[in-house]
C-alpha cells in the first residue's frame, strides 16, 4: 500500500513538471493565434501576437522565426534578418528556420542584383 502511494505521488509530481515544462498555455495560444492571423493575411495582428508570445517566452525560436517571416512580408528586411538570426541561435538545428533564413538571404540578395547580371549569367 505504502509502495503504491509513493509511486502515485511520484507520478503526479512528474506529470506536473512535464505539464509546466511544456511551455505556458498562454504563450502557445498567442503563437497559434498569430499563425491563424498570418494565414488570413492579417500580418499586423500576427506580429502583435508573436511579440506578445516573445514577451512571455523570450527563448521561443518559433516566435522569432515567425516574426522574421512577418517582417519579410512587410518588407522590413533588417528586422526580419535580426529575428531569423535570433531564431537560429536559439534552435540551430531546426530545418525550417534554416530553410527560411537561406531562402531569405537568397531572395533579397537576388532582388538587389539587376536583371542585366542575371541575363549575362545565362
Amino acid at each position: 500500500m505504502n509502495k503504491l502511494s509513493t509511486f502515485t505521488v511520484f507520478s503526479f509530481l512528474l506529470l506536473s513538471v512535464l505539464f509546466s515544462g511544456c511551455a505556458s498555455q498562454l504563450q502557445q495560444n498567442q503563437m497559434q493565434f498569430g499563425i491563424k492571423s498570418a494565414q488570413k493575411d492579417l500580418w499586423n495582428e500576427a506580429i502583435f501576437r508573436w511579440k506578445k508570445s516573445i514577451r512571455s517566452a523570450s527563448d521561443s525560436a518559433a516566435a522569432h522565426n515567425n516574426l522574421g517571416v512577418a517582417y519579410e512580408k512587410k518588407g522590413m528586411i533588417e528586422e526580419a534578418e535580426k529575428e531569423y538570426k535570433i531564431a537560429l541561435k536559439l534552435d540551430p538545428d531546426n530545418e525550417h528556420i534554416q530553410s527560411n533564413y537561406t531562402k531569405f538571404k537568397k531572395y533579397w540578395k537576388e532582388s538587389e542584383k539587376t536583371e542585366e547580371e542575371k541575363d549575362e549569367k545565362k
Binding site: V69, I97, E112, E115, E116
Partner: protein
Amino acid sequence: MKRNRIFLILLIFLVLYSCKTGNYWKIKLELPVKTSLDISRFKNIVIANFFLIDDKNDFEINPALLEYLSSELSQDLDKNISTNNIALDNEELFQNKDFWKGQAPGEDATAFLTGSIEYTSETRKALIGKSKKQFDNPFPSKNRLASRKFYNLKMNVYFINAATGEVIYETKFNETQAYENPNQTAEFAFFDQVHKVKEKLFRQVLGGERIQQRYLISK
C-alpha cells in the same frame, strides 16, 4: 496496480510526445521586389525610336515596338506616355547629353525611354530523341533530325533624363526562343520576346511582387 502503472507510463509518453512534436505550416508570401530606378519624379515618359543594329527583318520594328510599349506603360503607370520618332543614326547618341536635352527643351519632369535592338534569326537542325516508353517497343523508332527556327532579341534599354540629357538607367536583355514551325514569322516571334523583356523591365522599374514560400512554426 499493474494496470495503473501502464496507464501512467502511457500518459507520460503522450505528454512528452505532445511537448516534443513541433508543428509547422507552409505559407506563401508575395514579397516586394526592389526597384532599380526612381521613376516617381517624372511626369512624362516619352518612348523614342530604338536604334536598330543589323536590321534585316521584313517588318518595321520601331512602330510596332513603340505602340506596344506605350500601350503597356499606359496601363501600368499613372503618367503621360507619348511616343517620338527621333532619328537615331548611331549608338553613341545615347551618351550625347546635348542631343537629348534638345529633344524636349524646358521639360524638367520628362524621361526618354529608348535603346538599341539587335533581332536575328537562324534555322538549326537538332537531333530529336524519342522519350522512353513504359513497355519495350518491338519496333523502336530512331532519333531523327528536325529543324528549329531560333529568334534572338538583344535589347539595350536606356532611361534618359530630358532635363540633363543624362542616362539615368541602363539595362540589357538577351532573349532566345525556338519554334518548331520553321515558317514562324519574325513579327510573331518578336512580340513573344518583347513581352518577356517587358515583364523584366517593368519589374525593375515599377517593382512588383514575387511568390516565396516560408515556414511558420508553432513550437
